[in-house]
């Protein structure tokens, strides 16, 4: 019975229940914390169900439940349901786990939100968890797209959670629009694919693909369109710009949505349909190149951020690109593997950052320093996360990252491979830059002119979470000391930390044999570059043996353009203002003054003509006789010549 997917369904529906309860029962929602308990309860149950169904579907077991959703011409056009197999249930478990932890964590993190706001927050959380699971378990493209959009909606709602702050409101819109732009491609892709294969169903389609029943002509266009959707969701160049701004949302949201789950949906999509993409190798090539490029780009950007969350955001972008590259190289399993491990430790990092922000009341690295003394536990778990991200042995990121590198190389993409190695180095560097600056080094504020201070200084989001935590400071805790977060926040941190170590240790010794052979030098190179990065960071920011300023100067142009985010955001800004708004003004003007104007012109003319015409009615009897005479004349002429 466990095999038939009902467990997966239960995991899915529990969150739906939570959402409905919170959405409909307004009084409960307005209570705040109780609402949180409800949704946490459901999340816990959902996790249990997820784990069980994962166990049940480990191996080859696949179970499928579908119901008709859209009828047409008497038959079924589209269905909804669950498709539970090893991958989906594994992903399901990850989502359930992170969702649960984040919801618990939020209890502490958002403790000083107003009750209704908190209720709203948990309603959104449940909705998100539900939609994400629906996406993971989707048996067909329609449901996939539906949930795809819904998670986008949740991200929009949660980024804009503090909508009273202009930055947050703007970021929410930006995120929605950019991802929506990608989804336009995705939607088109689905429609085209439907006509191409005659079905939405993944399983059926896979069978068709298996026996080569899918015509290859034009398939590349379709897969590319679908890939566009992934580009939007998983923040690939050039649509990656929304993710850093999305950090305006509460940190737990960033952890759940913008690190562990939603943003990985694109990767998951490509992994789910790798058999389809396998038919169009040139599209896969594009995926690799874009992936590698985005990885490098965002890694560089991450190095110059002074907002701790933005560093993590860019690192997320670059890690996602890692996965994309692997999938593009044709070994989607590697990408999926990294997706899972990354989900764990990136969530850990974000939650850790949240704890830091919670304590320091600022996102800005320059406001931090030596926090390790005040909050040792946080320091430890954060470092664990950093090590995982850097990909050192015994930590979660180690094997997954190495597999990706191997995969890309095995795929025969040398240049991307080189770029990714470089990225590995940069990753370690910027991660430990954060670690040292935040936890171990002296507060840099003392060291005037340090490049970190010259970061994207003026950026509005610097007050991100501090904004609402200012209540602390206002509350007279002037001589206030950073302190460990409450248990509700520490617990999830430790769980995640231990998990990443456990995974790391497990996979350091137990190598699953990959589908490709990577040379012996690969592992040392990868680890070496990571270590090099760490050392450089240490030398620069801990020992200050190397002056950060001169370091920055060494990369002058890159550094400066990185500060300007390579002007990509500006380009989009312009495009929005000029192309869309500007054009709309033109159309609006045309509508009002030409299309409608002509109409008004006609009527105005008629009225004027009428006014002129009545002057004929002069009031003099003799003019009236003139009228008769003229009429008579005309008639006579007509009789004569007509």
């Amino acid at each position: 019975m466990a095999g038939d997917g009902t467990l997966a369904l239960a995991a899915l529906l529990l969150h739906a229940v939570a959402f409905l309860v919170l959405a409909v029962a307004a009084p409960l929602r307005r209570l705040g914390r109780p609402a949180g308990y409800v949704s946490i309860l459901c999340a816990a149950g959902s996790l249990a169900a997820a784990v069980l169904s994962w166990r049940a579907h480990a191996g080859e077991a696949i179970s499928r439940l579908v119901w008709t959703w859209l009828p047409t011409e008497g038959q079924t056009l589209a269905t909804v349901g669950v498709l539970a197999d090893a991958d989906s249930t594994l992903m399901l478990t990850l989502v359930a786990l992170v969702a649960l932890l984040v919801q618990v964590y939020s209890l502490g993190y958002l403790s000083d939100e107003s009750a209704p706001a908190l209720g709203r927050y948990y309603a959104y959380q449940s909705l998100f968890a539900f939609s994400m699971m629906g996406l993971v378990l989707a048996p067909n493209f329609v449901q996939l797209f539906i949930c795809w959009e819904l998670v986008g909606l949740c991200s929009y709602l949660l980024i804009g959670f503090w909508y009273q702050r202009p930055a947050a409101a703007r970021a929410a819109l930006k995120a929605f629009w950019i991802t929506k732009a990608g989804d336009v491609g995705f939607l088109i892709g689905i429609v085209l694919l439907w006509r191409h294969t005659g079905t939405f169903d993944l399983a059926e389609m896979r069978v068709l693909a298996g026996n080569g029943a899918i015509p290859l002509a034009g398939l590349a266009v379709i897969t590319f369109c679908i890939y566009l959707g992934a580009v939007g969701k998983s923040a690939q160049f050039p649509l990656h710009i929304w993710l850093p701004d999305a950090m305006e949302g509460p940190t737990p949201v960033s952890a759940l949505i913008h690190a562990a789950t939603m943003v990985t949906a694109g990767v998951y999509l490509l992994h789910r349909t790798d058999w389809l993409f396998a038919l169009t190798p040139d599209v896969l090539a594009i995926v690799v190149w874009i992936g590698a490029f985005t990885a490098l780009l965002s890694a560089v950007l991450a190095c110059v951020q002074t907002d701790i969350k933005r560093v993590l955001a860019y690192s997320t972008v670059s890690q996602l690109s890692y996965m994309m590259a692997a999938i593009g190289a044709g070994f989607s399993a590697a990408g999926f593997f990294h997706l899972l491990t990354h989900g764990i430790f990136k969530a850990l990092l974000f939650l850790g950052a949240g704890a830091v922000i919670h304590a320091a009341h600022s996102n800005d690295l320059t406001d931090m320093g030596r926090l390790a003394r005040r909050m040792p536990q946080t320091a430890i778990v954060f470092t664990v996360g950093a090590l995982s991200l850097a990909g050192l042995p015994l930590f979660a990121g180690f094997l997954s990252k190495e597999e990706i590198l191997g995969a890309v190389r095995a795929g025969g993409f040398t240049a991307p491979f080189a770029m990714l190695i470089l990225v590995a180095f940069l990753t370690a560097f910027y991660m430990f830059r954060v670690v040292f600056l935040a936890f171990f080094a002296e507060p840099v504020a003392l060291h005037a002119g340090a490049p970190v201070a010259a970061g994207v200084g003026a950026h509005a989001s610097h007050v991100a979470d501090a904004g609402h935590h200012a209540s602390h400071a206002a509350a007279g805790v002037a001589a206030h000391e950073p302190h460990e977060p409450p248990a509700s926040m520490l617990l999830p941190l430790w769980v995640l930390a231990l998990l990443s170590v456990a995974i790391g240790v497990y996979f350091t010794f137990v190598h699953p044999e990959p589908e490709f052979t990577s040379p012996a030098w690969l592992m040392p190179v990868a680890v070496g570059s990571a270590v090099a990065g760490i050392l450089l960071a240490w030398a620069t920011y801990q020992r200050r043996a190397i002056d950060a300023a001169s370091l920055a100067a060494a990369f002058g142009p890159i550094y400066r353009s990185a500060l300007a985010r390579f002007w990509i955001d500006d380009v989009f800004e312009r495009a929005y203002l000029l192309a869309i708004l500007g054009f709309s003004r033109v159309i609006g003007w045309i509508d009002r003054y030409l299309v409608d104007g002509v109409l008004n012109m006609l009527s105005a003319w008629t009225v004027t003509a009428a006014d002129d015409l009545r002057t004929m009615q002069s009031g003099r009897a003799q003019d009236y006789v003139y009228g008769i005479a003229v009429g008579l004349l005309v008639l006579l002429l007509w009789v004569q010549f007509g």
């Binding site: 009615q617 002069s618 006789v625």
Partner: protein, 99 residues
């Protein structure tokens, strides 16, 4: 071709009358113009009757003359009435009603 001559004469008289109606400033003058027009009709009728040799034309003429008289009477009455109210019989001044 006597008929032609009569008809032409009638036409000329008619046009003179019409011209008078359209140009005279004095209302009485206009009335006279109308009388001319009607009388041209009489010329026509008599001529036609004479040349087609039946009396209907003459009969018609008699009717026309009577009716013309009646019209003249009514017209003059109205003119007098108007003069009482407005102290003028100049057609151009009678344009209170217009537009």
């Amino acid at each position: 071709m006597g008929l032609q001559a009569y008809l032409t004469l009638a036409a000329i008289v008619f046009c003179i009358g019409l011209f008078g109606v359209m140009t005279r400033r004095n209302t009485i003058g206009i009335l006279l113009g109308i009388e001319l027009m009607l009388n041209s009709v009489n010329i026509n009728l008599v001529a036609f009757g004479r040349y087609s040799g039946d009396v209907t034309g003459m009969v018609f003429t008699v009717f026309t003359i009577c009716i013309t008289v009646a019209e003249a009477a009514v017209g003059l009455a109205i003119v007098i009435l108007l003069f009482r109210v407005r102290r003028t019989v100049t057609a151009d001044h009678l344009d209170l009603l217009r537009g």
